[in-house]
């Protein structure tokens, strides 16, 4: 009798979660269509319908060239990029928080953002162009985390590698942010310096479809293993020894998480610049929504993170006559929202 009641409890919570999951899965698509219609150049929902059916079935442009350009060359790449960046930052944040057993960890904990920032700054000052900025940011993001991991393995004298990694991340992050400051000092104040400052504040305004093609493969390589191993991520939260005693090879798993989460972070930062708070706040919000189990946490982070960044980016480009850097908006929204979450969610760390 008792057991039956309990099984139905589990089924009930599963069903409730399933409904949530369906709603969450539709949300990014729904918001994507809305975002397509929002902006300075007026595009109606029927325009969007006509444009898509024309492209798909008639094989010709049914709308004026300007509208076609706004939809297909300006807004769609940007919407896809926003969804991808939101996904990457939230998933890597969630994965890092579990691996480091600390809910206050964000994707730049190992220095990926600082490294990417340096790469982009270097590319701007050397005038390597849009593609150069993306590639340099990506490369230096990976390089920074590689350095952190190398330092961590060099100085771990006993036991807990997570602490040494965090320290290594702070060191490497400091070095790269100092280098960025150095470059800003010597940069041409009329042309290069504004470009650097603007990049560091984060923006999706200059994203083209080619950028999306470049970061899509590393993002996929990063996200698929995290989705597959999502159950085992739970065990890391209980510490290495307990996880090992339950049959998990924690060293391999941690290395995999670091590689995947770094690919995601570096890919996102390399096309968007620094966008703070998303990787910290979204996993918290999702834990409050569907619980801390990575089985649902990772998929829901994809839905919520992508939707969140899309909404914020749409606001960033339509709220004021000028474009607001998205990094400023995410921080302005993220920080107070995080305080709200801290005050209202079940705190388990003290």
């Amino acid at each position: 009798m008792k057991t039956n009641a309990l099984i139905s409890y589990y089924n009930y919570s599963n069903k409730r979660n399933k409904l949530k999951l369906i709603i969450l899965a539709i949300m990014p698509v729904f918001l994507g269509v809305i975002a397509l219609a929002v902006g300075r150049y007026p595009v109606t929902l029927s325009d969007i319908w006509t444009a898509f059916t024309g492209e798909l079935f008639a094989g010709e442009d049914l709308l004026p060239a300007a509208v076609q350009t706004v939809i297909f060359d300006v807004r769609i790449p940007r919407i896809i990029a926003a969804l991808l960046i939101g996904t990457s930052l939230s998933v890597s944040g969630a994965a890092f928080q579990g691996t480091f057993r600390n809910p206050l960890v964000s994707p730049d904990i190992l220095g990926a953002s600082a490294g990417a920032g340096f790469g982009a700054t270097l590319a701007i000052i050397c005038s390597w162009g849009n593609l150069g900025i993306t590639l340099a940011a990506f490369t230096f993001g990976l390089l920074a985390v590689g350095m952190t991991y190398f330092i961590g393995n060099k100085i771990k004298n006993s036991g807990d590698i997570t602490l040494v990694l965090v320290l290594g991340g702070i060191l490497v992050g400091t070095i790269f942010t100092s280098l960025v400051s150095l470059i800003k000092c010597v940069a041409d104040p009329y042309e290069k310096l504004p470009a650097i400052t603007y990049w560091l504040m984060g923006s999706l305004s200059s994203i083209q479809i080619n950028d999306v093609y470049i970061v899509l493969p590393p993002m996929l390589i990063g996200i698929v293993p995290l989705l597959l191993f999502r159950w085992q991520l739970n065990l890391l939260a209980f510490g290495d020894e307990e996880a090992q005693s339950m049959g998990v090879n924690t060293n391999k798993l941690r290395l995999m998480v670091i590689i995947c989460a770094t690919l995601l972070t570096a890919s996102a930062v390399s096309i968007s610049g620094m966008i703070g708070w998303v990787g910290l706040v979204i996993p918290h919000f999702v834990r409050a929504l569907t619980g801390p189990n990575y089985k649902s946490l990772i998929p829901v982070c994809i839905a919520v993170g992508s939707s969140f960044l899309l909404v914020v980016d749409t606001l960033a480009r339509s709220l004021l006559p000028m474009e607001i850097p998205i990094g400023i908006l995410t921080s302005l929204i993220g920080a107070p929202f995080f305080i709200y979450l801290l005050a209202n969610s079940r705190r388990s760390w003290k």
Binding site: N102, L228, Q244, S245, P292, R346, S348, W349
Partner: protein
């Protein structure tokens, strides 16, 4: 099932934490490990579990050396019940117990309905089914200890290794826990546990081992090992063992520290 430990030793650097440890556990046996703080109990457990690499010696399960087994294989043989601590995320109790199933499911799979049934059975075995939907970080220390045991049971090991399972429990929960341990041994599990209370060893253990400064001070049947002189020597205090007759006529031994 039998577990045999031959001449096991572990050291972080030069000074061994423990050495010359021999131990044999049969199916359904409860072995109690006694020893003062810092005598190497937890380190010994972690070495047996393969979390630390032994400096010398062998760990043999069913006649097979397990030093080259994968984590997954080891987890199916030995379950670990650590001292309870609070994880950083508010997992539900059923999620925590389901984590014990990890060694039995694919690397990239999530627990199935069958795993869920096994987890429920493990909780029912310890009478904690009522905790299923609660949040692990919000239940009492005694309940958390039972959840950790249920998690180890869901792992379906042959040997259960428990690090001071009765510490941090109130008096009633200590006795309830010892009864659970006795019952699990009667179901065929082999149990190795450490404790700071010789009374607990007298209450449930078939064998007792006393560890002092990383060496086995004495080992054997619990009744024979737990003596006034042995206890006085390992803990450095005066202890007397009294015999008491309980209402049903059984004679029980209890340890009484003598305060000078």
């Amino acid at each position: 099932m039998s577990l045999e430990i031959r001449n096991l030793a572990f050291a972080y650097d030069r000074e061994p934490i423990f050495e010359n440890v021999f131990l044999r556990v049969e199916k359904g046996e409860i072995v109690c490990l006694l020893g003062p703080n810092g005598s190497g109990k937890t380190t010994l457990f972690k070495t047996i579990l393969g979390l630390y690499r032994a400096r010398e010696g062998q760990i043999i399960v069913n006649g097979k050396d397990v030093s080259n087994c994968s984590r997954r294989e080891l987890a199916k043989i030995m379950g670990y019940v650590p001292q309870n601590h609070i994880p950083p995320f508010p997992y539900s109790v059923i999620d925590v117990v389901l984590m014990g199933r990890t060694a039995h499911i694919n690397n990239y799979a999530v627990p199935s309905e069958l795993d869920y049934q096994i987890a429920c059975d493990a909780m029912a075995n310890l009478n904690i089914s009522y905790l299923e939907g609660k949040t692990y970080t919000e239940i009492s220390g005694g309940e958390r200890q039972l959840v950790l045991i249920a998690r180890a049971l869901a792992q379906q090991p042959e040997i259960l290794i428990m690090d001071e399972p009765t510490s941090n429990l109130d008096y009633g929960n200590q006795v309830r826990l010892l009864n659970h341990i006795k019952r699990l041994a009667a179901q065929g599990l082999s149990i190795i546990m450490s404790t700071h209370s010789p009374d607990h060893a007298l209450f449930c253990a078939s064998k007792a081992i006393m560890l002092k400064d990383g060496r086995i001070f004495c080992s054997g049947k619990a009744e024979e090992v737990i003596t006034e002189s042995n206890l006085s020597q390992i803990y450095g205090i005066n202890i007397e063992i009294a015999k008491a007759t309980v209402k049903n006529g059984e004679s029980k031994k209890i340890c009484i520290p003598v305060v000078a």
